[in-house]
Amino acid sequence: MSRNYKNKILVIFAHPALEKSRINVELCRAIKNLDGITFRDLYEIYPDFLIDVKEEQRLLLDHDIIVLQHPFYWYSCPAIIKEWIDLVLQYGFAYGHEGTALAGKHMMSAISVGASEDAYTENGVHYYHVREFLRPFERTAALCNMNYIPPFVVHHTSDLVTVEDISVFSDLYKKVLISLRDKDIDIKAMNEFKYINDYMLDQYESWSV
């Protein structure tokens, strides 16, 4: 981390059985060793759920963007992410009177979802859109005076069979994080998109790497 990046990124990752995961294991592999990114595997660090609140808060203070990366379980996150939110985003630290430690920072969800985006419409099985289900996270960010960046979403994971299928997403995820790390964040422009995936693809034309 010799270079000074525009935004330092903290990835809070949770998968209770990563050894059996196909998607998240690749997403992690793509980003966890990038410069300017701190990767935290909660289930690996806290197998007994005894979260070190002080240490987690120190890390939050040290970064500009917080990414919550996890599979989408029951329209939400795995248990340890909830535990992390409950304990680390303390009153007086993250919110409430004098709780301004996170103000001005950014927060983003990065999730893998079993079903297609179609299933998450009024006519689909799940009726509501993924963004609707992510409202608790969006509001969590807002209550802590953080900007909520549209989520990075991998849909229809059961359709992603080959390594190439998956690498499309892991490459994109990597580009998203690098872009967030290196460029100014234009929340307004991003908010025109449901997913940051689409924003990135839109930027692709004018953005050559």
């Binding site: 209770p16 059996k20 995961s21 197998p47 989408f72 079993g114 079903a115 059961s158």
Partner: protein, 621 residues
């Protein structure tokens, strides 16, 4: 009839018969002993005669032991906190009572010298009866109990100047004083012969020696003796200590009770405290009992028959005067009403010091023998009436006070801990440290002196003693504690202790360390509530670490270990009913193997389910 054994037989028989009956009737042991004394005394069955006075003097040593035990319960800082009540309340009680009795005596035509002597002597109350009764009723730690204790302690100190003053009140006959001083001190050498400043230095030296020895030297001797593991030598040394201090104090003219009390306070912080308590306790109990019996036997009913009205009048007068003065003092010192009544009724008698002081006074020609004999009878009767008065207060007066008034006082000596840990080796220390870190008070017992000293250096309160002994458990507070944590390594010993605790303290929950499965079942059979196999937890964690190094994710290894633990503990309980059959051992071995096999194969089958089937299935969500 005169043989020692026969005497002992009579005393013990009287105690064994009358004390349980008195207790049953709710009268307390003291009244039982006193009654036993009257029965075997010269005026009923005539089993014991004039020698009972000699026995009385011998039995007074029970009071000395009692004060030693009270001292053990009282750490120096607590004693320091009582300095106000001791000097203020105690001083006023002695002074006011003396003056009032002096005036009354003067009015009845005695010279002021005789009146003053009577006042000084009658002002003192009975340490033995009051403390024994309060202890038995569990009232010693109430405000009234503490105040009574403070007054008694001051009176104990006051005996010394009274002994010095009495000869000055005598009609001047040369030579008598020195002779009687020797009688009082029972010692060949008397420091009265020395000039005053040398006396003072000697007294200071003896007290300093007691403190230094108690504080710094005695523990090494205790340790040395404890390591020999000869219980009776430990008991012998404890007795030796108490008697030695008593002798030293008498040598310099101080009260033996005061000296041993001081020694007790000095040793209150010692790791050997509970062991000392349980060693001295039986001696104290028997000697005090003997003392009370002797008091009962010494009541001179012939004298009473000669002038019954005078005696009754004097006893009533004495009790009323003391009662009123105590009550006023309690009021001045802002005691609540119920506490004040308890305080006043407890101390409204004259005490055993009066026996000694009255005979001392007659020897010094302060007063004539018949007067002293009458007063001794009055004192004995007032002592005998004390338990009755306290029952009167308890049953008839106390119920009149509202419950609000009777709420327990907060500022009382309370150092009994909710948890007792037996064994403070590698296992017990971890349990102790965890509880300590969470501010749970623990009383720790261990029987390895070297271990105790090492752990004490880290600030833990560890006491020496064998936890299988009921008396030790009592003095460690097993009667009041909530949990008993049994962590000693010797599994047979542990089993024995668990049985004792279950029998004697059925309300105490036991948490035990078990050696293996067989030991676990044995503990289960006794009814031990929580059992932990000593190596199970750490072996499990080591196993989990192995899984991690083999490539398991941390959380996966953690869950695997927990799954195994759960499975193993369930089968352990399930197999319990097969344990102890005729072919116990064979069956046990076979079942164990089968169990292990099932455990491993079922783990294999369960793997998907227990290891988070739903976590990796897309499931369309």
């Amino acid at each position: 009839m005169d043989s020692f054994l026969f005497q002992a037989f009579i005393y013990l028989l009287a105690a064994v018969v009358s004390v349980p009956i008195a207790k049953r009737l709710g009268l307390g042991s003291v009244l039982g002993y006193l009654f036993a004394g009257i029965i075997i005394g010269p005026f009923v069955f005539k089993f014991v005669g004039v020698e009972s006075e000699a026995i009385l003097h011998f039995a007074e040593f029970g009071v000395v032991m009692m004060l030693f035990l009270i001292g053990l319960e009282l750490r120096p800082e607590l004693l320091w906190r009582l300095r106000g009540p001791i000097l203020g309340l105690g001083g006023l009680q002695v002074a006011v009572t003396t003056v009032v009795i002096l005036l009354i005596g003067f009015i009845f035509g005695f010279t002021w010298k005789v009146s003053l002597a009577i006042g000084l002597i009658l002002a003192l109350s009975s340490t033995a009866i009051v403390l024994q009764t309060l202890n038995e009723k569990g009232l010693i730690k109430t405000q009234a109990g503490q105040s009574s204790f403070s007054v008694l302690l001051f009176q104990d100190i006051a005996v010394i100047p009274i002994l010095a003053v009495l000869p000055l009140l005598a009609a001047p006959i040369l030579g008598t004083a020195e002779h009687s001083v020797e009688q009082i001190h029972h010692a060949g050498f008397s420091i009265e012969a020395l000039p005053g400043w040398q006396q003072a230095i000697l007294v200071a030296l003896v007290i300093a020696t007691i403190i230094i020895i108690g504080r710094f030297l005695v523990r090494y001797v205790f340790r040395f003796i404890a390591e020999t593991r000869l219980r009776e030598i430990f008991t012998a040394f404890a007795l030796f200590l108490v008697i030695g201090i008593a002798l030293a104090m008498q040598l310099v003219g101080l009260s033996a009770a005061l000296g041993t009390f001081l020694a007790g306070v000095v040793l209150a912080d010692s790791e050997y405290r509970h062991e000392l308590e349980s060693d001295i306790e039986p001696f104290k109990g028997l000697l005090l009992g003997l003392f009370f019996i002797s008091v009962g036997a010494s009541i001179d009913f012939n004298l009473f028959a000669e002038e019954p009205y005078l005696i009754v009048g004097l006893v009533a007068g004495l009790i009323v005067i003391k009662l009123v003065i105590l009550f006023v003092l309690g009021f001045v010192f802002k005691m609540s009403r119920s506490q004040n009544f308890l305080f006043a009724f407890s101390l409204a008698q004259s005490g055993e010091f009066a026996f000694v002081l009255f005979s001392f006074a007659t020897q010094n020609n302060v007063m004539p023998v018949p007067l002293a004999d009458t007063l001794i009878l009055v004192v004995a009767l007032s002592m005998a009436l004390t338990p009755v008065l306290m029952i009167f207060n308890e049953k008839l007066l106390q119920p009149r006070f509202s419950t609000l008034d009777q709420r327990p006082e907060s500022d009382t000596i309370d150092e009994k801990n909710p948890v007792i840990i037996a064994g403070f080796g590698r296992f017990g220390q971890i349990v102790g440290r965890l509880l300590h870190a969470n501010n749970i008070g623990t009383t720790v017992l261990d029987s390895k002196p070297s271990q105790i000293e090492m752990v004490r250096r880290f600030g833990y309160k560890v006491f020496y003693g064998d936890a299988s002994r009921v008396e030790l458990l009592h003095s460690a507070g097993a009667g009041e504690a909530k949990l008993f944590i049994l962590t000693i390594g010797d599994k047979d010993k542990a089993l024995e202790i668990a049985k004792t605790v279950k029998n004697q303290f059925p309300n105490l929950k036991i948490l035990a360390r078990a050696y293996d499965r067989r030991n676990t079942y044995e503990l289960m059979d006794i009814g031990v509530e929580v059992i932990q196999r000593e190596t199970f937890g750490s072996a499990l964690e080591l196993g989990a670490s192995a899984l991690k190094l083999l490539g398991f994710r941390n959380y996966q290894a953690h869950r695997a270990a927990l799954t195994f633990k759960h499975h193993d503990e369930t089968t352990l309980v399930d197999l319990h009913e097969h344990f102890g059959d005729d072919e116990a051992f064979l069956l046990q071995t076979r079942l164990k193997n089968q169990d292990l096999f099932e455990l491993l194969s079922s783990d294999e089958e369960d793997k998907d389910e227990t290891m988070g089937h739903s976590w990796e299935r897309p499931g369309g969500m």
